[in-house]
Symmetry: C2
Subunit: 190 residues, 2 copies
């Protein structure tokens, strides 16, 4: 019996992300995905029931992937600023390195392919960050502002950095990264 080439799902995801970056979600056709992934169109339907399933599965994979990266090396017991800096850098690096995924998440979020259920899950992504900010407020290091807005502030500014790096292919170096962190830090600090 011929075995499934499990590596194929990764190829399909990669192809889809590449197409989303190049043409947006509206440019993603099953034929184009198959061609990019160098498989036959029919093969797509062995791995995914239909287009909706493909998009929804990739969406969940991207969310999971983000969660993994954001809190890598994060130690909840480290001093507040250390922890905050770690997460800030992790989010930035993830967005920069996996810009296609961020783009896909944004576009898929507003497509008919993703249902409410999945969106609710996606929202839980930043729980550990919210806990850290709560602690920062207790320690009087962070402004007394609702976590909802503090995270919006942090994530929003990071997203825009990565968007601009990618759109205008601006280069980042450690010094510039530091300056950008300082903007965010001065914003949230009490």
């Amino acid at each position: 019996m011929k075995l499934r080439d499990e590596n194929k799902i990764a190829r399909i995801y990669k192809a889809t992300l590449k197409l989303v970056k190049a043409t947006g979600l509206s440019g993603v056709t099953m034929q184009a995905v198959a061609k990019e992934a160098k498989i036959a169109t029919g093969t797509l339907y062995i791995y995914f029931q239909n287009k909706e399933t493909l998009i929804a599965s990739l969406f969940q994979a991207c969310i999971k992937n983000s969660q993994g990266s954001f809190f890598k090396n994060y130690d909840a017991k480290a001093p507040f600023k250390v922890g905050f800096h770690t997460i800030w850098l992790n989010v930035l690096h993830h967005r920069l390195l996996r810009f296609e995924e961020s783009l896909f998440i944004e576009q898929a979020f507003h497509s008919p392919y993703i249902d409410e259920q999945i969106k609710v899950e996606a929202k839980k992504m930043f729980e550990p960050l919210k806990e850290l900010l709560a602690r920062g407020k207790k320690e009087h290091l962070v402004k007394d502002v609702d976590n909802f807005w503090l995270t919006a502030f942090m994530i929003g500014s990071i997203n825009e950095i990565s968007r601009r790096v990618n759109y205008y292919n601006k280069k980042l170096n450690p010094e510039v990264i530091d300056l950008n962190f300082q903007l965010c830090w001065d914003g949230i600090k009490a």
Copy 2:
């Protein structure tokens, strides 16, 4: 001779924006637009040569529209903080009130419908803000950071506020708006 109903273009734009919010750009079909605008499909082609033209025209209209709002009541001669606050509020209000347009711009930006030329134009939108920030730096009120990153910081955090207000239909009141401004202001100030 029957005259063109110029109001129809506005109806078409409105319908397109509504559909983009509901289903993303990939859900925008000419039939759906026509139905939503309560005109016949053929009529769409009287006003726009084809789908690409419709999307590109709306994109330009949205950009122009933004430019108008962002610098409304802005006085380049007012004290720095006053001017900055005015623009910050204008951008926020525009994003909140015309969220569908922001969404459309984001999605269209990465679609095959918008060519490089138009994107370059869109980039010039924030020129007056950059001038203001340059002045702020001269007056030692603003951190010595490249305007590119200062605007990214400001615009990114505002965008995320409006995104969250719309996604999670969180309410904003003047007090919360002030808190959010404070985050941004403390971030950029020297």
